[in-house]
Amino acid sequence: MDRSTLEGDPHSILEAMTIAGYAIGASKGFIYIRAEYPLAIHRLQVAIGQAHDLGLLGDDILGSGFSFDIELRFGAGAFVCGEETALLQSIEGNRGMPKPRPPFPAVKGLWGRPTVINNVETLANVPVIINKGADWFNKIGTATTKGTKVFALTGKVNNSGLIEVPMGTTLREIIFDIGGGIRGGHQFKAAQTGGPSGGIIPPQFLDTPIDYESLAKIGSIMGSGGLIVMDETDCVVDVAKFYLDFTVDESCGKCAPCRIGGRKLLNYLTKITDGRGTLDDIKQMEAISDAMCKASLCGLGQTASNPVKSTLKYFMDEYLEHINDKKCRAGKCSKLIQYKIDPAKCKGCTLCARKCPVNAIAGAVKQPHTIDQTKCIKCGQCEANCKFGAISHG
């Protein structure tokens, strides 16, 4: 959503940065942006040019005696380069690896000088607040979290897209009012906020007002403002695995808990979704998640285990089903699915045997057929083609 702000209203960010520069006495600002966002880059460049022409950037802005300039710096798209110390390293031309804090950037930042780092959405609020006043702004939101929040609402909702809501709006309002409820008449199962390292929130918290504190309390984060809605056809273990896969790939590799712990968590999740999990795996995952949170250097490692921690906390029964019963109730974990032919319904038409790409189905004509589970690749062709509804999976 930051990209759409940059594409749609780049001047709001230039204005906010200039104000911020004025406030702290800085003369130079940088916008760090992924090189893969050409439209946003183009529009920012145009806007910077216009601002220069109008005397809103550069020397002696509007005759105020204050000079400020803004430069774009392109990132190669490494997730960790969004972490503030890694971001500074990247701007300086070094390897984008986080550094210990303190010293915080505000004390010792870019090239050792005090540096303020803000997110696009934060900055976009600044001109509005200055124009309309703090009292106006403070009226929006909750007691502790003021203002609005933009979410990228996606997943199994009827209306997906970017939404802006006052802080304190509940998940139920977002999903069922704005999002128009769950697609295809399915059941709401969980929501995930905050990007790849957010927690997965179960239905009992649908009425929680969303602000920083309450999200933290239920094991998730505001993060990037992603909001993904899941229904009963989503498997939470599989979802946790999906996110871990991302963070393992994006770990910078500096610290042991994140670099090694993330990979081990992913391996355990894979083992469980493959039907090879054991109860001991859960114990190890809990220990690793805790160590990653507490001993990782930066936000990436500290939060990467949130999807695992939150699903272990709220959806333990599904983990146990995967481990003990070798079952995935959502039918997502393909290794746990079994296709079965009901002998009472099977007419022995041989269609399924002919459709099966790996010849896993055997049986004489007009006799009930059977599936060789060791050969089956769970493609579902048989079930889709059986005219008698004799084949099902679970």
Binding site: P102, V248, G253, K254, C255, A256, G262, I288, K294, A295
Partner: protein
């Protein structure tokens, strides 16, 4: 300046420490040891392992608690977090210990754990901390990401399978040594420590100083072990096995046998080498004295006859390598004198056999050095074959010698002391101080003073101006009215600023501000060498340095030119002349030359 002090509480104990102290060091002051793995006191905390986590007690946010201190759920890294006034720190509680243990188990799960065959078994920090935590089994499946061993240099071996990514070696190579041969390559679990651009160490800017190996907590970078070559030579009845030991070895070898750093073990080393089977035991301190004759007269010649100044010392092959790669504009400033190791070997295969009537073809010279760069030096060019043979056959580091002594079952600690062998074994105090930063300069000044003034000895035999651990030491020495400007630099990364001063003088067309510059690549000089017992800190270096100066002080003769064996060498073999004085034999055997090297050897 008055140091500002702060007070804080660690585990309920109040400590007072200077502002800027880390939580780790503040805890040390309170006699509490926080476990660490990636941290090394020589280096800025890289904060990569996460073992040193501690908990801060912070005022409760719950109004009912009335500001009571409660444990913060977040942990801090003690190695890189500055202690602040009034801070409350808890270094151990069951939760912290569990987190540390899990992190350790994760590291172990990705480690080969073949300690029995590891060069660092017994001096490995990972092994030690695993023992401290009582790790008996690792609960996570083992996964070692394999990469081929880099043994492209004769000096050091990089086995990245064992690397725990602490980052020390890169910090050493880049910041301490200003070489930039090593860097983290790749990201996430694919991160490896290696030279840039996928080249091997031998094609990289590496100067083979071995400082990475002396700082690596585990067996991921270590000396190229050549002990088997020496065992083979010792077993060969045809070979006459000669051996030399460098100055710095005698104050460090004892550490491998539980002695205090700095324990002077010269006589024991001679005895142990004979027990190992060496036929003659020589001392590089002797050839250090020869170096002073050669380099000293070279300096006097340049200084009095208007030759190229400043003269740069050439005893340290890692420094030579660095100059040839990074500062070729100083090639002509380099002393042409070989290093003491190469001088001794050249004499051991020429002078010694001539005097003893033996066939030099049968001679095998082993050299025991604090240094990994010397392993490379012996094959650097044709000048290292000045006798018609490879002058030095094998270089062993202090660490390798320790292993040979242990393997041979020699009770080193109780060994009666012996003397070195004749002709190449006697040394003066000036020769022994080659092992510390400033030593070559001090030895040269002692002799230069006498040669220039014709006096028997300088007013003070100690030149304190060149001693100590400052990265760059400068002084003007008054030799009876003649002023000699000198600079002494150690730890490769400190050298460039001195060279830049000279470059500035050159640009301005003025007389260079220094006449004579000593450079040693390793921190503290060779006592802190890359082949010495691992993990030395400044405390250890200080003790080793003290050992060297003790050896100097107890020497009867403390100036190189007074060494009777050196005098005999020039009288009986080198036609009474050093290389700089026109001695052809000396020039041939004891001098070398330099060339520019590529920083990277791509596709060559």
């Amino acid at each position: 300046m008055e140091q500002e002090m702060i007070t804080l509480e660690i585990n309920g104990k109040t400590v007072e420490v200077p502002k800027g102290t880390s939580i780790l060091d503040a805890a040390k002051a309170a006699h509490i040891k926080i476990p660490t793995l990636c941290y090394h006191p020589d280096l800025k905390a890289g904060a990569s392992c996460g073992i040193c986590v501690v908990r801060q007690l912070v005022p409760s946010r719950n109004p009912a608690d009335n500001g009571k201190l409660v444990p913060s759920p977040k942990l801090l890294r003690a190695c890189c977090t500055e202690a602040t006034q009034g801070m409350h720190i808890l270094t151990h509680d069951p939760d912290i210990v569990q987190v540390r243990k899990t992190v350790l188990e994760l590291i172990l799960a990705n480690h080969p754990s073949d300690c029995l065959q590891c060069p660092r078994s017994g001096s490995c920090e990972l092994q030690a901390i695993a023992a401290d935590f009582g790790i008996r089994e690792v609960p996570f499946p083992r996964e070692v990401i394999h990469r081929d061993v880099d043994n492209s240099t004769p000096s050091i071996v990089l086995n990245s399978d064992k690397c725990i990514k602490c980052g020390r070696c890169a910090e050493v190579c880049q910041q301490m040594q200003n070489v930039w041969a090593l860097e983290f390559i790749g990201r996430g679990e694919k991160t490896v420590m290696a030279p840039a651009a996928g080249v091997k160490l031998a094609e990289s800017p590496c100067i083979k100083c071995g400082q990475c190996s002396a700082h690596c907590p585990v067996g991921a970078i270590y000396e190229n072990d050549e002990t088997s070559k020496v065992w083979d030579a010792l077993r060969d009845p045809e070979k006459i096995c000669l051996v030399q030991i460098a100055p710095a070895v005698r104050v460090a070898l004892g550490e491998a046998f539980g002695m205090k750093p700095g324990s002077l073990t010269t006589g024991k080393i001679y005895a142990a080498l004979r027990m190992l089977g060496f036929d003659k035991v020589f001392d590089t301190n002797f050839s250090a004295d020869v170096t002073i004759m050669e380099e000293g007269t070279e300096f006097i010649k340049r200084f009095t006859e208007g030759g190229k100044l400043p003269l740069l010392t050439s005893c340290c092959p890692a420094w030579t390598d660095w100059m040839e790669k990074y500062a070729p504009d100083f090639t002509e400033n380099f002393s042409t004198a070989k290093s003491p190791q190469q001088m001794l070997s050249a004499l051991a295969k020429s002078y010694w056999p001539a005097m003893n009537n033996v066939d030099p073809a049968k001679i095998h010279v082993t050299s025991i050095m604090p240094c990994t760069a010397k392993k490379h030096e012996i094959i650097r060019d044709e000048n290292m074959k000045s006798t018609g043979y490879q002058d030095t056959d094998v270089v062993l580091t202090t660490r390798e010698l320790a292993r040979m002594i242990k393997a041979a079952g020699i009770d080193f600690n109780d060994l009666p002391e012996e003397e070195a062998d004749k002709l190449l074994g006697t040394y003066t105090g000036a020769g022994t101080i080659f092992g510390v930063t400033g030593g070559v300069m001090e030895a040269a000044l002692r002799t230069a003073y006498c040669l220039i003034t014709g006096e028997a000895k300088p007013p003070s035999i100690d030149f304190n101006e060149v001693r100590g651990m400052d990265g760059v030491k400068t002084a003007t020495i008054d030799i009876k009215g003649t002023k000699v400007n000198i600079a002494v630099a150690h730890q490769m990364g400190n050298v460039e600023k001195v060279l830049n001063q000279i470059r500035e003088d050159r640009k301005n067309g003025v007389k260079p501000r220094y006449d004579f510059i000593e450079v040693m690549a390793c921190r503290g000089g060779c006592i802190g060498g890359g082949g010495q017992p691992c993990l030395a800190t400044d405390e250890v270096r200080a003790l080793r340095t003290k050992g060297i100066y003790t050896d100097d002080e107890k020497s009867v003769l403390r100036m190189s030119h007074e060494n009777p064996e050196v005098q005999a060498l020039y009288r009986d073999y080198l036609d009474g002349k050093t290389g700089a004085q026109g001695g052809e034999k000396a020039h041939h055997l004891l001098h070398t030359n330099y060339k520019q090297l590529d920083v990277y050897k791509f596709g060559k």
